[in-house]
Amino acid sequence: MSKFGNLVDVRNGTQSKRVFYDRDIYELELERIFARCWLFLTHDSAIPNHGDFITTKMGEDDVIVARQKDGSIKAFINSCRHRGAQVCPSEAGNTRGFVCSYHGWSYGVDGKLENVPFEKELYRCKLDKSINGLIEARVESYCGFVYGCFDKDAPSLSDYLGEMKWYLDVWMDATGGVELVGPPSRSVLDCNWKTPTENFAGDAYHVGWTHAAGLKVLPGPLSMLAGNAVLPPQGAGIQVATRHGHGVGILFDAGPALLSDVIQEMFAWHARKKPLIEKKLGAARARFYGSHFNSSIFPNNSYLWGTNTFKMWAPRGPGQIEAFTWAIVEKDMPAHLKEGIARTMHRTFGTAGMFEADDSDNMESMTHLNRGFVTRTGTLNSQMGLGGDRIDPELPGVVGDSAIGETSYRGFYRFYQEILNAKTWADVHSNNARWFEPLIGEAPPDVANAAAA
């Protein structure tokens, strides 16, 4: 239990509304989540050559991510070790080093402090440059996706991703690899970082209603869902929750249904490549390849596979985020198909996205209505399908058997509470044998009254 009491009732699938609003909770999130979990940085394809770099955010920390001479990647805090001014104001480039614009201290691409103007005359050998390099974060990659972590005690990226890798491999690996098409678009939303993350992790329910107008006018296999005219039948998909809070929902066979101009070409591409996926991963995951994924990697990294959008929601206080948006393309796609995917994806989920703009009112009001004292004493309900989730012999994680439900929400907030309350990662992992128990099995008898609690 944190100093805030129980913010999440895992068994009943509810959360306190304060998690979207409270400044003190947010500060604890910065300390216990953003300073301890693996955070998305960039993709190999953005920084292929020695000296290539991008700048981005880890939580609210401004960081530089740079390709080293030996091919490895380093990430450091974009703040000079002298008085703390920003060392690199560019978003990306190729450089031999970074020179602070304040006093001219200069760092190599490896972050080492190489040159201090008038060092001999002014510091008289009293400055130890070797301990004044830019502050580093750990950097690890999975299938070319680069993540950073400030906590030396955190598990490896691979262990952190855990069961989610089984699902990621379908598109990140078995395809022969993907790239992110950049640069990202960058825009503000006045919402708490968890509101889009939970939505991408587990919300197939909102698609027909929130996105009714877009579905109605964009032709494609999902148009029938417009205005909730049709409910996907039983067996149309699954939802998954994992050990470290990541979640995914899979809508079978829907794949590129939202990408208008390139739908037919993508269906054809998927059909041609499916046998390769089946050979590598088997029939079930070959079907996933042509399906639509909505997913989040805890804490603030989301994507849609099929619609091929990749997101990072950088927190800016409890009530605001910066949305970063990239397109995902398979490495071996022809150039015109890559361009077509980037064009049609940004048309739906970019800054002028016909779908993206539908979500903002929901997420912003979920956040800011909590300025009301009475409003924020209430609870959030994620009880759809409660009691129906289970462990599956073939599908890793905790599984919900329907395309629509709130399995992934419950898994996200279970881990959220766990990491927020844990003093160390060892405390988190003391629960390894039993972490899933509150997510599966019969719902408690008082579930009907839980919303009123």
């Binding site: 978003e91 480039g93 950049g182 640069p183 208008s260 800054t351 002028a352 703009a357 009112d361």
Partner: protein, 181 residues
């Protein structure tokens, strides 16, 4: 597409009549788009072969000559059919975000009209400040330069053949760019 006017490329001046006509075109557009008349705008003022682009540029050092990744992301990269779908979305009756109706105010200024390369085409530059007010508390501001080509049809009317905007505000503060530029 460059936002910088190169004098030699656009030296061809037009008559005051044509200059006024170009400016009047922009003002009519601004009024139609600002009063919920997107369909009329598309039907009457947009060329069937329109190329409609709005992008953001990644911020890089002007001294950087070696980084070769793409530096432009397109928020709009639309032809007539894509614009038509966007207009249809506003007419669907299901676009919850635009109910209650928003108020869009387009202030168009710094209009310059030149002859373009193809005879009869006009190259038009303008600056826009657009304020979008919606719901009770929301007021967002958008400011941008436009570079347009207007083409005269057989009926004598000008239509928008291309529009290019490089949106200068890298971190888009107006939350979304879901409006016609």
């Amino acid at each position: 597409m460059s936002n910088v006017t190169i004098a030699t490329r656009v030296a061809a001046k037009v008559s005051e009549t044509v200059r006024t006509e170009g400016e009047a075109f922009l003002f009519l557009e601004a009024r139609l788009l600002g009063t919920g008349q997107q369909r009329a705008w598309l039907n009457e003022m947009v060329h069937p072969e329109v190329v409609y682009r709005v992008s953001s540029r990644q911020l890089r050092s002007s001294k950087d000559k070696r980084y070769s990744q793409p530096d432009e992301v397109f928020h709009f990269d639309d032809d007539y059919a894509a614009l038509d779908k966007r207009v249809a979305q506003t007419e669907s009756g299901l676009q919850w975000r635009s109910d209650p109706p928003e108020t869009l105010l387009y202030i168009v200024s710094n209009t310059e009209v030149f002859e373009d390369e193809r005879p009869g085409d006009l190259r038009v530059y303008s600056n826009v400040l657009m304020i979008r007010d919606r719901r009770v508390y929301e007021s967002d501001q958008f400011h941008y330069r436009r570079e347009d080509v207007l083409r005269r049809g057989e009926d004598g009317a000008l239509r928008l053949r291309s529009r290019g905007v490089v949106y200068g505000q890298r971190f888009v503060q107006g939350k979304n760019l879901l409006f016609f530029f």
